[in-house]
Amino acid sequence: MSHIASRSWQLNRRSFLRGTGVALALPALDVMAKAKTVAEPRRLAAVYFPFGVSIQKEKSEKAEWGWFPKGEGRNFTFNKSLRPLEAYRDQVTVLGGLSHPEVRKIGGHDSGDTFLTGCDLLSRNLHNTQSMDQVAAEHFAGQTRFDSLVMSTDGGVGEPTRSSTLSYNLYGRPIPALNQPQQIFDRLFGAGDPDTNRNRRRLKSSGSMLDLVMDDAGKLRRRLGKFDQQKIDEYLDSVRQVEKRVARAQQWIGIPKPGLTDADRERLQLDADSKVPTEYVATMYELMHLAFMTDSTRVATYQIASMGDATSLGGKFPQLLGIGKHLHGLAHDWNKAEGVEPLGKWDRFLAEQFATFLDRMCNTPAGPESDATLLDQTTIIYGCSNSTTHTNKNYPLVLAGGRGLGFKHGQYLKYGEDTPFANVFATMLEQTGVTNHFADSTGNLPELLA
């Protein structure tokens, strides 16, 4: 595919001034100027599927359905299930042997919540910790309209150990995932939903409120002694900081949402629902792609299915695709002779969808005047927190994109248990310019970098 996305969404300065009037334009210009000087934006995404994959011994009869490739390093061959990635071989690295050390302690089916957090949920009274994507989202906060785009097939937060979101805020609280394509579209490109409208009203009232309390506190200050004045100054500083942030968030209200080309719109199937998995998953990936393309956010996560088992919408995908049982059952049969192929086919379905996403990402320029592709500027982790259904080790993982951020690809790397999975996150965060550590990381992984 050689489709090059149109640039109609691009926020050029003139149309912007026309649209909003000068008064609001001035602070907003600041945002644009910043975007220019900071070079290309760096982005980060995570995609997850539950219950593990088909893992077969290299010499077994069914080896062709083994998820992990044959060989190692640069000399490896994809088996059937990951073969759709062959065309993007130089954009991906397959990672073997990794897992979150803390999560090894808990039940196999309880690990989904921790894919991006790495914490031992059960010994913490079911309280999670901040997820990797949210560390980045916090770092980029305010630079784009949305700090992050959190999506899942099931939507909402689910239950502890049966989470239907990958993302957890600074305090380890789950961030509800969006699952309706139309709703996500409205939020990104449309008129906004009731939630957004209420937030907008409140943002405005916050502005005036902070002004007033600051005035009052200023007057109060004069009536105080030296030490109390220091305390009120602390208060005034805090209010001033919050006010700045509110003003920054308000800027986005004045800036028109990006438009899309007809071609982009046609590709979207906003009425897709989870009863037609191929369309639905493709649409969710496409929304992620569009969100990045329009620089509406720098951070996105998508949970294709949850470990919610019986109630999970994504859990029904294999049945709906005609592959066989519901996902949980399918995954449990990984070591039964008759179970290998159906599970392998499911693995391949996922790989096909992921490949389409990579295709879109590497055929879109990273920015209006950029030579790099969107994929070059985006690092993506794709995988699961189980190898086979109950095993919390040797996660099946693909790291993709980010060549413009220093990653090199075309490898299958095998790690030992002494390397925490968080080291991959630390590397991703570091290359994205966020931080150089995450959770229990012990360092970054230079072999991933050019």
Binding site: E159, S208, M209, D216, K231, I232, Q241
Partner: protein, 824 residues
């Protein structure tokens, strides 16, 4: 107010006993006189140091002969003196090839340097003896919103923790910071609260259910649904869709109790609400109570549904809100333990059931009713308290809003508000009104503003440079934040309005009322936690190899919770009954419930509620020695390694918390006793210390510490009485060592064990303890660190306190009547 540094130094010499308490000389009982710098310290420095750090050479750019000894005024010199202390402590100076300091020389320098540095530090931090503008801490904020709205919700979820003061208090204005993050939380919390309190929707649908049987046959962890409650047998009801997400709910239940014998074990009803995330249960306790009488009983429990873990609708394998009744008795008891047995069911199949043993206190559920959301009227009471019904509302919105705001502001700000203030809020309301859909949502925003104003978030006592007496409303707030951790109630406010609160007799009555009020438990909890640092025990992991009897599973770690509760219950009993503070050293009763009684080997305590148990009738030594703080597991566990006692920590606890005489912090690079060479591990603690103390640098400090800790050796890490010591070696093996309790205290006095330690404290250290007790409570009451200028107040209060036989409630009365409490 400014302190003259040297005058204060002189004061030190004349008021030695006072200064022990404020500054804590490293070794008690030694001479309190500071070595004279010119005549004693300087000659040593000149002899050994000036060569390299004097007029000719200034190695390391340090020149000592001209270095100012006015550490308070000259902060650069203070820093240099700090360095000097460190290198002397470490023995780094004088360097290897030079003449060393003799032990006496070292001591002279340090005896001058240590207090001088501390004094300068203290003076530098002085706030002129005045309370610094205090932000409500998280706990006070939570309580204030609960009382302001009349609804207990979790208002402070995820708030950043508050900073503690150097005295370990969490209500110190200087330590309680404000930040942008904190401010954002305040905005979000106020909005979330008002979204709940002020309703815009119509009366919600009320769900009512009645159950006579469990809805679920089984639950995770092998629990079976049953009417006859016991271990693994619980009454479980799950309401799949028809349950509320907001508001109050009411649970009524009828139970039948069968007690095996009088004054024997009793069942403990536990009511929990929550849900089941697949293979787990996430439940919070709504109520727990002992049932002391056989027969039928009916109970009603009310809760706020938002305070419980709630399922997400439409998700989950076992959807719905769950209520579980269980008998908490069985979890810890030995009597009548429930056993698993295999039986053949009606269908001929074999299955396992749980059966009670003989003597089991039985609890049988007849039925359970659930109703929610539960309200007397709509809109609910809390909404009406703010938006009261009035004919003005429809006709003259502005006039109505003015009334609403005036009433809310004066309650939220804990003082009368003036017209100008109200007008500003009305104007803000009017400004927002066109952009908002209705009166309610506009008003919410106006009230949010009131709740982020300094008038709400701080205990405002505006005053310029000179101290002034508090106004009656400021005084009412000081009182209520002292004794309730919250805002004044209506009665206090009325007393403040009329000014009657300053009347001695009225004030006494009010204080008594406040202490007897349930809200006083907020003060008791907070104060005891901070004074004694109770949570030290939760920072210690119990070594279950040494203490296999300690429950390993944290999720049912009931014993730990009960242990933590003891000092709080103990303080509460002493305060409410106005008993003597001497009980904190030696007491003729212990506060126990069944679990803790078992832990301490006391007999005849049944039920989970705490109550005073006299120790008189308990005969053997372990029990007789109980009573007082020093034998409580919370304290002893907190000052342990989790495997064994830690005599240093115990000594530090005693000196810091009970005598207000904290030892100097250890110099840097001091090795931990345990991590030293492996041969050391097999030696008795006394031998270990002997080796450690071969170094003079160590022995100086340890002389003031070790004795106190050794005296407490009769109690192990869990606070249980022992006759020999179990020690875990580095290789994991356990060995036994004989108990050694004979100890020499800093003043040379020999004591042997806990009883003689208590004797000693109550005789030789009685005054010091009384004074320390006053200092701690006054520090908390004022919300600031005490300073030199407080000496006269401390002295007066201590004198009064000891004359009053150290009665604790009387001390509270004296504090609130003291001038210092009434002055800004």
């Amino acid at each position: 107010m400014k302190f003259d540094f040297f005058t204060t130094l002189v004061l030190r010499v004349f008021l030695p006993c006072l200064l022990y308490i404020l500054w804590g000389l490293p070794v008690l009982g030694q001479t309190a006189e500071l070595p004279n710098f010119e005549h004693e310290v300087k000659p040593i420095l000149a002899k050994l140091c000036y060569g390299c750090h004097g007029a000719e050479k200034q190695k390391g750019k340090l020149r000592l002969d001209t270095l100012s000894i006015n550490l308070h005024e000259d902060s650069r010199s203070a820093e240099r003196w700090h360095e000097v202390r460190t290198v002397i402590n470490l023995g780094e100076m004088p360097p290897e090839n030079e003449t060393k300091l003799t032990t006496d020389e070292r001591r002279i320098i340090l005896d001058w340097l240590n207090p001088t540095i501390e004094l300068a530090e203290k003076l530098r931090q002085s706030k002129g003896g005045r309370v610094v503008l205090r932000r409500l801490n998280n706990n006070e904020y939570q309580n204030t919103l609960s009382d302001l709205f009349g609804v207990s919700l979790d208002y402070t979820r995820d708030f950043p923790p508050d900073g503690a003061s150097p005295d370990g208090m969490l209500n110190n204005g200087s330590s309680l910071q404000m930040s942008d993050i904190q401010m954002e939380f305040y905005i979000a919390a106020a909005r979330a609260a008002l979204d709940r309190i002020i309703v815009t929707k119509d009366e919600p649908k009320v769900f009512r259910h009645q159950f006579t049987k469990s809805t679920d046959g089984g639950f995770p962890d092998g629990v079976q649904g049953a009417n006859d409650l016991g271990r693994h047998r619980q009454f479980i009801v799950r309401m799949k869709n028809d349950y509320p997400d907001q508001g109050m709910f009411r649970i009524r239940t009828a139970l039948r109790v069968e007690l095996p014998k009088e004054k024997g074990p009793v069942p403990r009803l536990r009511v929990r609400v929550g849900y089941r995330p697949d293979t787990l249960v996430d439940m919070e306790t709504l109520a727990e109570l002992d049932l002391h009488k056989s027969g039928e009983h009916e109970f009603e429990f009310v809760g706020r549904i938002e305070n419980f873990p709630l399922p997400v609708r439409g998700q989950g394998k076992f959807p719905g809100l769950v209520v579980i009744l269980s008998n908490a008795y069985d979890e810890f008891s030995q009597i009548g333990k429930t056993q698993e047995r295999e039986i053949t069911g009606d269908d001929g199949k074999k299955k396992k059931i749980w059966e009670h043993g003989m003597g089991y206190p039985r609890l049988h559920v007849e039925w359970l009713e659930f109703e929610g959301p539960f309200f007397e009227q709509w809109p609910p009471e809390e909404h009406r308290r703010i938006l009261f019904p009035s004919h003005l509302r429809e006709k003259r919105e502005k006039a109505y809003i003015r009334k609403v705001l005036k009433s809310f502001l004066s309650r939220a700000w804990r003082r009368p508000v003036n017209r100008k203030e109200v007008r500003q809020y009305v104007e803000f309301y009017q400004k927002l009104r066109p952009g908002f859909p209705d009166l309610e949502s506009t008003l919410r925003e106006s009230l949010v503003m009131a709740l982020i104003a300094p008038d709400f978030l701080y205990l405002l006592e505006p005053a310029a440079s000179k101290p002034r007496p508090l106004t009656s409303h400021e005084f009412a707030s000081r009182l209520s934040y002292f004794l309730w951790n919250s805002m004044p109630d209506k009665e206090l406010r009325t007393m403040a309005d009329t000014g009657r609160l300053f009347d001695e007799a009225t004030l006494s009555t009010q204080v008594t009322r406040m202490i007897n009020d349930e809200r006083a438990s907020r003060f008791i909890d907070s104060y005891v936690e901070q004074w004694l640092d109770i949570d030290a025990m939760n920072r210690v992991e119990v070594d279950t190899k040494v203490h296999p009897e300690f429950p390993r599973n944290k999720r049912i770690d009931h014993l730990r919770k009960v242990i933590r509760r003891e000092p709080i219950e103990f303080f509460g009993e002493i305060l409410r009954k106005n008993l003597s503070a001497e009980h904190f050293i030696r007491s003729d009763f212990v506060m126990l419930n069944d679990t803790l009684a078992r832990h301490y080997s006391f007999d005849g305590v049944h039920g989970g509620a705490f109550r005073p148990v006299p120790i008189k009738r308990q005969s053997d030594k372990s029990k007789a020695n109980r009573g007082g703080l020093l034998t409580q597991s919370a304290i002893l566990l907190g000052a342990s390694t989790g495997g064994d006692s830690h005599i240093i920590k115990r000594a530090v606890f005693l000196r810091e918390r009970l005598l207000d005489d904290p030892p100097d912090p250890p110099p840097p690079n001091v090795p931990d006793l345990k991590t030293a060479e492996p041969g050391l591990a097999k030696l008795s603690i006394r031998e270990q210390l002997k080796q450690h103390n071969n170094d003079t640098a160590c022995s100086d400090c340890h002389r003031g510490i070790d004795g106190w800790g050794l005296a407490m050796e009769e109690y192990d890490a869990l606070g249980q009485w022992r006759t020999e010591i179990t020690r875990k070696l580095p290789d994991g093996k356990l060995i036994k060592l004989p108990l050694e309790t004979l100890a020499k205290l800093p003043d040379g006095r020999e004591i042997d064990g806990m009883e003689s330690l208590k004797d000693y404290l109550l005789t030789e250290r009685r005054e010091q303890f009384a004074r320390a007790f006053v200092v701690k409570l006054l520090t908390y009451a004022l919300g600031r660190s005490l300073e030199f200028s407080d000496e006269k107040h401390i002295n007066a209060l201590t004198k009064r306190f000891t004359q009053d036989k150290m009665k604790v409630q009387s001390l509270v009365q004296s504090i609130v009547k003291s001038e210092v409490f009434r002055t800004k």
